[in-house]
Structure formats: C-alpha cells, structure tokens
C-alpha cells in the first residue's frame, strides 16, 4: 500500500490553506480601498492567531487553481456582511427581537447552504479570523445532537455552521483557536464550540495531539474563575467536554467547583458533568472519585457517584470494598451508598459533544443480578458487619425489583 501522506498534503491542512488562500486572495485582489489585514485589524480583535504560520504568511506553494476556486463568493460573503450590519443596526437601535434575529440567521443559513461548500467555508473562516461580531440577543441553546438551535452572537452561529458544514475545516480552525492561551478577550461560548468542532472533526477517537489540546482546554475551562463566577450558557454547556474527555485527572477540578464558591449554575453544571462521567463507568474515574479529598465534604453526593460502580469489574469492586471498609468514611455515607447501589437512574437532554448512551434493560438486569451476587457476599463478610442490616434491606429490595 502506498503511504497516503507521501503524495500530497493531508486534506485538513489543505482546507486551512484553501481558507487562507481565499482570505489572502481577497485581500490582495479586492478593489476596495481599505482592505483590512490581520495585523492592522482594529480592536476588538477576539481571535487573531498571529502565531499561526498557516494564517499569518502566504504559502509559496498555495495552489493557484484552489485560490481562484475558493475566493469568497459574493453570495456568502455579502450575506455575512449584510447580517453583521443588520444585527448591529438593530442592536444599536435597541429594538432587536428574538424573531428578527432568528429571521436574519435563518436567511444567512440558507445563503451559506446554497453556495459552493469550499467557498462558503472560506468566507466563514475569513469572517472568524477577522474578529468582527454582533450579538443576536438569543440564548445559547442546542438541539439533540449538539447543533445550536439558537446562537447568542454571529460568531457562535458561524462556528456552529462551520462545524456542521465542514467538520474537517472546523476542526482545523478549532486547533488554531484552542492553541491560543485563554485571555480576558476569549469568549467562553466560542471556546465550547471549538471543543465541539474539534471532536466532530474526527471520525474516530481524537488523535494524540488533539487529545492533548482538548484536555488542556477542558482543564482551563474548569480553572477559569471569571467564567465560573459569571457563567454564560455556552460556558456551562462546555462542561460536556469533561464527559467527552473522560480523563480522570478532571475529577479533582470538577469536584472543587462542586464544593466551591462558583455561581450556583456553574456548580450545577459541574454536578451534571461529574454524574455523567461516573456513569461512563471508567475504573480510573471511579478510583479518582473515591479518593478525591474534596468529595469527602459531600458524603451523600460521593455515595451516589460511587453507586454507579460496576462491581463485576474486579478493579471497581476493589475500589468499592476499600471504600466500604474505610473507617474514615462515615456510616451514614456508606448506608446512603448501599441504599442507592446499583444506581440505575440517569438523565436525558441535549448535549454539546457527547451522546447519551442508551441504557438497555437486558444489560441492566444482567448487571443487577451480578451486583446482587456481590452484595450477598458483602452481607456475610465480617469486616462489613455494621452494614449488614442495610445490605439485607437493599438485597430484598433488589430481589423484588428483579422478580
């Protein structure tokens, strides 16, 4: 088999180059008297990846035909600029309504979908790099599958569209965006959408470099006290990145938010993320939950999270047995764990990145029966004797559920 990379650039790089070529081409050949350049862009510049070679310098090998083919069309580019101007005018007049904003964005969506994909993508990337924006007055809201049903700004709308129209190009743009350090100018909603787009750009699991980038930004999201104190909806939905990552190292910062002084809505999002992380059932995550010191201050919550453990897995069974025998864990907490174990309740609802995994009755029943066997062993284990009455009650209850 011939090596795929030996013949030409990877398409991802190609997409960025095409977008760059389109932008540079437009800057070079536009008849307008004052074409903006990235370096001269007037503030507010919300995304100016000056460090990116791909976006800061023209490539000597940029293919001319691609440049000609992907100059932003009058349709896509004009529609973008028209929408920007219309939103700004309505915002300036203080009269914008949700209906007006939706109509403008619906029209723009149709314009973008109608054009050549490569040209549309180039126009969107050009706009995003340019740093212009206008608020829409709409909430950050999603539908099932993670696509936005409402976007709070033109840029978030375009990031969403880019992710839907060309996931590879969107992932490329997201790499550039996420590689930049967080600054006060970084918009958390955009950060969340770039995390989503990076995930969407991979047909399978993230490549190692992308995984590092993704986890780094997910960690930064959890550590940003300004965002946590004044959370936007897009920031909160970004907690799904923690679930997508599944990295046990994120348990500690998540727990600190849950138990800290962040806004109530931020703590709520952290709880949801922690629960979904536990439900995913990774042994390293269960171990991290069991040993996270700050969770010992929320014993009821820790008991509920550990009640997700799969004790047919030897590693998780060992974690739970250590927890039940740990004299530093209060008896009330242990009884709470036993009453909830094995926890089968779960949440549904739209998520930005992950998809809820169906809970299949046949699997749950099999797992319940296996858990019952383990609980009967615990009920005869002398080291757990203070818990035997609770164990017996739960065994009887579980038996009746499985009748």
């Amino acid at each position: 088999m011939k090596p795929a990379t030996s013949r030409r650039l990877r398409p991802l790089t190609g997409s960025l180059l095409i977008a760059l070529a389109a932008l540079l081409g437009w800057l070079a050949f536009s008849k307008k008297s004052d074409p903006p350049s990235l370096a001269q862009k007037a503030p507010p510049v919300r995304y100016a990846p000056a460090s990116s070679p791909a976006l800061s310098s023209p490539s000597a090998t940029s293919p001319k035909p691609a440049l000609a083919a992907t100059l932003p069309s009058a349709g896509a580019r004009a529609a973008l600029l028209h929408t920007l101007a219309a939103l700004r005018a309505l915002q300036g007049a203080g009269t914008i309504t949700d209906t007006q904003a939706r109509e403008l964005l619906d029209h723009l969506r149709a314009e973008l979908a109608a054009g050549n994909l490569a040209v549309t993508v180039a126009a969107i990337v050009e706009f995003l790099v340019g740093g212009e924006d206008a608020a829409t007055s709409l909430a950050f809201a999603m539908e099932d599958g993670g696509a936005l049903s409402a976007a709070p700004s033109l840029r978030t709308f375009l990031l969403d569209q880019l992710g839907q129209l060309d996931p590879v190009a969107a992932a490329g743009f997201s790499r550039e965006f996420l590689a930049l350090p967080l600054s006060p100018a970084t918009i958390p909603d955009e950060s969340s959408l770039c995390l989503r787009n990076l995930a969407w750009g991979s047909p399978g699991p993230l490549a190692a470099a992308d995984r590092i980038l993704f986890d780094a930004r997910a960690t930064a999201l959890l550590q940003n006290t300004d965002w946590a104190a004044r959370p936007s909806a897009g920031f909160l939905e970004g907690f799904d990145a923690v679930v997508f990552s599944g990295n046990p190292a994120l348990v500690a910062p998540l727990a600190r938010i849950m138990n800290g002084a962040a806004a109530a809505s931020t703590r709520h999002a952290a709880h949801i993320a922690m629960d979904r992380l536990a439900l995913a059932g990774d042994s390293a995550v269960i171990a991290a939950i069991a040993t996270e010191p700050s969770l010992s201050e929320q014993p009821g919550l820790r008991a509920g999270l550990l009640a997700r453990a799969d004790v047919t897995n030897a590693a998780q069974r060992a974690i739970i047995e250590t927890y039940l025998r740990d004299p530093s864990v209060g008896e009330t907490e242990k009884k709470t764990f036993i009453a909830a174990f094995p926890l089968r309740s779960f949440t549904d609802g739209p998520r930005l990145i992950t998809q809820p995994k169906d809970q299949e009755g046949a699997d749950l029943i099999t797992s319940d029966r296996a858990s019952l066997v383990v609980m009967r062993e615990w009920a005869t284990d002398h080291s757990l004797s203070p818990l035997h009455p609770s164990l017996t009650a739960t065994i009887i209850r579980l038996q009746s559920m499985l009748r």
Partner: protein, 396 residues
Amino acid sequence: MNLRLVARASLLVNLAGLVTTLQAQSSAPIPQSTGLSYPDNLTGLVYSEVGQGSGAIVRHPRIVLSCAHVVFDDYLQASASGWTDLNDFTLAWNGDTAPSAENAVPLRGYVRFSRYAETSLNPEKYNLAFSEDFVAHFSYFNLTDNAPAAFWQDGVAALRSSAPKRITGYPAGLYNDGDPLQYRLHRTPDFLARLSIDFGRYLGAVGPSTGSGNSGGPAWVYDLKNHEWKFAGVLVSGLEKSQGDLDNEIGVVGANAAPWSLVTAAVKASGGAAPVTPLLFNSTAALPAAIPDGSRTGVSIPFDVSGAGKRLTTLRLSLSSDHAYPSDLTITLRAPSGRNVVIADRPELDYVELTEREITGFAGQNPNGRWTLLVRDVATADIGAVTEARLTLIAR
C-alpha cells in the same frame, strides 16, 4: 360567563355524556364505594425520599410518569445526594391509611431531563428547569395487567385546547397529618378551561385547583374524536383558595417531543421496548457511480428517507468502492438538516468496503428527507467508482 363555553359545554354533554363544569373547583376525593374507572385507575401514589406525589402508568405498563421534583433532590442543596433511588409506587390506592409495604412496588430507576445550563436561564422569561419538571420511572416488570393509559403525542396542544380536562392524584397538602383523606385518590371536576398561561411546555390556568401535594398528578384531556381520556402532562404547581392563596390555579408540564424522549429511554431501560425494525434505504443514484478524479466536487450519492420516526437513534452505512487507491478519497455524509459528518478522511486502506458501519454524529436529528454521501477523489492518477451504498437507520 362565556356564552361560547356554555354552548360548547352543552354540546359536549350531548355528544359524550360528560359532566362539564364551568365554575372553578378543587379536587375532591373519589368515593371508595364507586370504585375506580379509566383513567383514574391508572393513577397511583409515588413515595420517595424527597416526599410524596402522584404518578400514572402511561404508554407502557412498566412506566410511571410523574414530575421530577417529587423524586429529585437538587444537587445544590446541602447534604444532597442528587439521586434518590428508593421510590415506591402504589397503583390506584384509595384507602384511609398509607399503603403498606405489601401494597407498594419499588421502582427500579428513573430518567429525568437535564441540561448543563438549565439553571442559568433568565427566570423572568421562564424557568427551564421547572418547565422540564417531568420524570419517567421504569420497572423491570409490568405494573398493571391493564393497558397503559392512552396519551397525546402533543399534550401541550391538547392542554391549550378547549377540550374537557381532568387532573387526578393525591393532594396530601389539603389535609392535616393523619387525616384519612390524604390517602384517598382525588380528581378535579372535569373542566374546559384552556391552559392559556403559557411558558412553553409549562402551562397554567386560573380556575381549577388540586391543592398542594398533588405534584406529578396526571393531567388528562378528552379526545373528542376517539371518545377517550388521554394523558397530556403532569401537574407541577398550583394555588388553592382554601389554603389562603388569592385564587385557584394549576400549572402543568405538557408532554410533547422532549418529555416523550425520556419515556422512550425509560421504556428501553425497562427492557420492555417493542422490537425495533431497522429501515433500509438504498441510494437513488445509478450505481456504479464514477468518482471524478482529482476533483473537490466529487460524486454525490443521494438517499431519500421517508416514513421513519422523527428522532434518529442509530445510523449505519454500507459502502463499497472499486477505487484503486482509497487513500485519495474523502467521504462525507450530509443529513437532511445540512449537517455533515466525515466518514473517512483519506483512509489508509487497500479497498473501501464498509458493512453496516455505525455512524455517530447524527443522533437526535430528524432522519426524514434527503441524505447525501459525498465521495471525493482529491488526488489525480488513480480512479474508481462507488459500487454500492445503503443506509440503515433506526428512529423513534
């Protein structure tokens, strides 16, 4: 008094034999001597660690619908565990005492709606968490030998209509502790008021009342066409004059697509889901279809999907190509919504032969409409064609 309503009420009595009530009235106990009939007999008492509420068996004999605040202990409360999993259900209880353990069935678990950002919305607009205050319990066995209650696909629309309505349940808050009536099944008189206080799925009406404690009580709306009561939502709030409130009022979360997705998930978790037959759609393009060499335009392979459910759960793709050098290819699938998912990006393969490969990224979308598989050969020299393409999908 609204004369139009009077005329309509008379008509209803004539057509359906219903007793309609135009005056605001509160729930009252159903006499024990009369027995319980449909749909009252599918209502039951829900006990959880959080408190007492009501519920009903709807859509599937293993499912109990109630409202989330009856069973969910908010994460943000002190010493909360978040989940409580000791929820019991007693169907059609109409006694003078609390049901005994023998009368109660432990429910295996429940599904509730959640959003990371659910508590951040502007409460002056409406409280999303409250409007999603709906929970679907599941059991591993049937909770009744009777058929589950019929339901409105769009309960919100039914509640907004002028059709007859009724709410059943256990308004324990009307009574002092120990009063035998708190364990009796109650129902409102049938009423015609539209639930016109409108916060999306959370709807309200002034006039009827259940009193407090009835959270999770089913709201039934009469189907004038098929002559039967159908479940349309759950009671979540209300005011009661006899308890010192200014007026009588009810607040109900209507059941439509979002709550029904909870129910569907709960049915699946119960192991009681009906077998699902995947739907197969072959491409409408003539195959084999040549892939233009060195072209970013590529070849588009359309699939016209119709007759499927509105929420995609599973999508599989079968694809074959005789292209001599698959590493030249990029393959993207576009949904009717316009969303694209990359299937392969210049794969390091010797040949393209995908068989029922599961494609993620489209879950939850409406699958009906035109799907397009875009196959591009982004290099020159080697050529080939798409020889077979098929979509298999499951939607609910």
